[in-house]
């Protein structure tokens, strides 16, 4: 009745990853008061360590799912507990396991009420988030997707700021309303796609285009709320501002990625025609998000709000990269999801750190921190520069790939998106100038204590990752190639070109095929990008 195959390991690694945090959350209710933090940290670190083999043992030459597990769950209708990762979900799983220990650490002293519940909620969140990325059954995916709402609702509503209840309810209702339509879409897919909830089978099935359009709208609302795309973003600044630091980090680093992941995993392969039809619409919304988010960030006096709006702008790049639907765009989008998770997560931790000291998130209350807190200032500058996409940092690589992909789709779209990079430099450098360098009006800033060992232990690894991805991105992009290649081969206009290698992807796809979906753009097919490394042309120049 059930078979478990988890290729290279003796144990079902994905199940372990999904449920270890849940077990940890249960354990937390039975340990002594003083041990809560340590147990939570230990669980999240063990989780990170056991997730590493996923990356190390990942077979980059396979397009399909790896480390798969399959157990029958519900007989009628057939709903299965099936898990697996490919080059698209693996980086996101690792991002989640990486971020969680930092969330625990950053809450070490910031949370003093109901600590037990707080740590348990964090770990339940981790279970749900990993579950979303590894589910290969649509109902299972939906279960994890929804389960996450409750802990996040509590995280914002119980441990948040003064206006937390409003923010928590807004977050909950927005995302729930979106995802309930997703549920109907899933059920419709079940009947249209051959009485199955298996994501891979549903991706192979073909749907009439009228059905596709309706389904796309349902998918779009569910995922666009989560991303969040303009104009569904209004819950995000509220949620970010009110959430405790760990909540903001989870929100920015992982939750927002789920919407983008949904687009990549479901909208593109299942509804290719509808995706193509709606692409101009989504691209325009992404461009609006990029510019609008940046402008809004420029106007913010609250650091958290500034970063929240910068998230709207940065996630605009992600959706843009996904919907231009070529190898560069999608790989850039996935890399940018990871980058945004690291960089924005780190920025929120920076804001949380300063809030613990000055009890204000206002820029005007936190001027000139370079003198009292040199280590902090260094870290803030690093992450701000990473966020604005300085060459040598992670975001540069991701944004460049997205912009290249967009260029292949339409050059004006790329030109407008590039404006977002400039605006990011404006609002981030201006923020840095004030927070770090401007002469402080307040005299008690002299007593501010610089980052301690715990805080450095959070920010330094993240800074290392910023440069690692920025300088040697290939290790991170390599595993994506095959899976993304498989995805781009599903582009409706690429079908004829790559029909032969659609299923197996056994041989290296021809370089042309990778960007074959770009006929509609004015860029010539034999552009300089169409070389063998079209998927990642910078490798040779940057990799030392």
């Amino acid at each position: 009745m059930s078979e478990v195959s988890s290729a290279p390991f003796g144990y079902p690694i994905l199940t372990a990853l999904v449920f270890l945090p849940l077990v940890g959350a249960a354990v937390i209710f039975f340990v002594k008061e003083g041990a809560i933090r340590w147990v939570a940290l230990a669980v999240s670190l063990v989780e990170f360590v056991i997730s590493l083999p996923l990356w190390l043992a990942f077979d980059s030459s396979v397009a399909g799912m790896q480390f798969t597990e399959h157990v029958n769950w519900i007989t009628s209708p057939p709903i299965n507990y099936s898990l697996g990762v490919d080059g698209i979900s693996m980086p996101l799983v690792l991002l989640t396991t990486l971020i969680t220990p930092f969330c625990v650490l950053t809450s070490w002293r910031a949370i003093d009420t109901r600590l037990r519940e707080f740590m348990a909620v964090l770990l339940v969140m981790e279970t749900a988030m990993i579950g979303v990325f590894v589910s290969l059954d649509f109902v299972l995916f939906y279960v994890f997707w929804e389960v996450m709402l409750i802990p996040m609702y509590l995280l914002i509503g119980v441990w948040g700021g003064p206006n937390r209840i409003y923010a928590a309810i807004k977050f909950f209702l927005y995302t729930l309303a979106g995802s309930l339509l997703l549920l109907i879409a899933i059920v419709v897919l079940f009947f249209q796609g051959g009485q199955t909830f298996d994501i891979l089978a549903l991706s192979r099935a073909e749907y009439p285009s009228s059905v596709q359009h309706w389904l796309f709208l349902a998918f779009f609302i569910a995922f666009a709320v989560k991303v969040p795309m303009f104009p569904f973003h209004t819950w995000l600044p509220d949620a970010h501002v009110e959430a405790p630091t760990a909540g903001s980090v989870f929100l920015a680093s992982v939750l927002l990625k789920m919407g983008a992941y949904g687009f990549i995993r479901f909208a593109l392969p299942m509804l290719p025609e509808a995706t193509l039809t709606f692409t101009p619409f989504v691209v325009v919304l992404s461009l609006i998000a990029i510019i609008y988010g940046a402008y809004m960030a420029l106007a913010q006096a609250d650091l958290k709000k500034l970063i929240a709006y910068s998230s709207v702008s940065h996630m605009g790049f992600v959706t843009l990269g996904i919907f231009v639907w070529n190898a560069q765009g999608i790989e850039g989008a996935i890399l940018q999801m990871v980058n945004h998770g690291i960089t924005t997560g780190a920025l929120f931790i920076c804001v949380g750190t300063i809030y613990e000291r000055t009890h204000s998130r206002m820029i005007s209350d936190n001027l000139g921190l370079a003198r009292p807190m040199p280590r902090y200032a260094t870290m803030l500058v690093i992450f701000a520069l990473s966020s604005l996409g300085l060459p040598g940092t992670n975001s540069f690589v991701g944004e460049l790939l997205v912009l290249m992909g967009t260029m292949l789709w339409h050059k004006w779209a790329a030109a407008i998106a590039a404006l977002g990079v400039i605006l990011a430099a404006v609002y981030l450098l201006w923020m840095v100038q004030r927070v770090v360098f401007q002469a402080s009006g307040s005299s008690d800033h002299g007593q501010l204590i610089d980052l301690d060992g715990r805080e450095m232990a959070i920010l330094v690894p993240l800074a290392v990752l910023v440069f690692w991805i920025g300088v040697a991105p290939n290790a991170f992009v390599e595993p994506m190639h095959r899976s993304v290649g498989h995805l781009t081969a599903q582009h409706p206009k690429a079908v004829t070109a790559v029909a032969t290698l659609d299923e197996s992807m056994a041989s290296e796809p021809p370089a042309d095929a990778r960007i074959a979906g770009n006929h509609q753009s004015s860029v010539k097919k034999q552009s300089p990008l169409a070389g063998r490394h079209a998927a990642f042309p910078l490798t040779t120049t940057i990799d030392p």
């Binding site: 509503g157 909950f172 309930l180 419709v188």
Partner: protein
Amino acid sequence: MTLPLSDLAAILPELIVVTAACLVLVLEPVTPMARKPWLAWMSLAALGICFAVTASKLDHQVTAFSELIVIDPYASFWKLLLYVITGLVILLSLSYLKSEDIHLAEYYGFIMLSLTGMMIMVSAADLLTIYLGMELMSISLYILAGFKRLEPRSLEASAKYFVLGAFSSGILLYGISLLYGVAGSTHLTAISTAVSSTGFQNPGLVLATMLLVVGFGFKIAAVPFHMWTPDVYEGAPTSVTAFMAVASKAASFGAFLRVFLEGLGGIKANWHALFIVICVATLILGNVVAIVQTNIKRMLAYSSISHAGYALIGAIVASRVEADADVQALGISSVLIYLAVYSFMTVGAFAVVALLRKGGLEGEEIEDFTGLAKRHPVAALLMLVFMVSLAGIPPTAGFIGKLYLFMAAVKAGLTWLAVVAVLFAAVAAYYYLRVVMVMYMREPQAGAGVVPRFVSSPVAAAVLTVALAGVLVFGLYPDPLVSLTSQAVISLK
């Protein structure tokens, strides 16, 4: 006339329950105050025996009393559900009645009599038998609703329920008599034959159908026949409210599906659209009005109205003219699944309400839950699970119930109805989550009078454990429930 022994054997569970009820009523005056709970335990033992009897004959398909009664898997499913609900309500009452200081053992007698009526309703194949069962159920409930004799609200609830209930019974009876005029019989099979041959042209049939819709609409609390629900649910003792909201609704749905699909199935094209209107109105009104309630019992009353709306989706699917046998089975079984999971989560929610004490009174304002998570974390967590399940969020049973309903609706080509239902599910999430918000995110204000406390006892803990187990087990592993319902629906048509 002699009764064949086989007839009596067929209604053995009913006989056991009614015997237990009579024993309770007879023994009550001679039982010392301290031993009154024994009568409750005796009722529970009777329920346990009935459960075993019904469960052992789950696949039996027999008729008794000249086909007035059918014992089929469909009826057995409802009976099993009713035993569990009644058992939970009796357990809850054991601790609730004591704290309300109305611990009179007649209570259990009336609960058991009401259960007898419900059991007759779900296994009757004749309209008059159904009517008799319904009256037995309702009259017992009228008394139970007024069981807090010293509290005006309870008496008002009882009187209101009685007047409106009697009125709706009259309407139902009028419908039955008209139908008798058309079909020359009150038996469902005969009605079915007659209805198919006369068609909907007969004005008597049209009127009869309308009147039956009103009668059953009242019992399942569907809009626009829901008016009594909030007042009665609010005023009645909470354990009785739980019993009405769950058991009476389940039994009424059981009878309703049988009457309309078996008896009036031939003209379903004519009444199908009427139910769509009722369903959508119920979803809208139940969910929207629940938002503004400040009393949690009233809120749960409106929530129970809205859940009747959800369950009606399954009935609408089953009564679609285009529906083949598969779709019809899926529609009916989704109703069964939905009401089963609804029972567990609703009983659980009412149990938490009943156990929250404010001085000598019940804490029944939503505000009374303020800060409950701090004072009684376990109670708050339980309430959280029940609210989440009522809102239909996984991994709880409420989600599974909705999933099957939506699957049935989409399969029958009623995707738009499923979309309406999910939109109002999002509305519903608001008021369910508000309870969570009050429990977890608000601090009680200093000097706000008596702080409500959560008073638990072993029996109450048992009720909550069973309800929680139902919500979680059916949420994570619904297979047994699903296969039980798919067996049950084969016998209905």
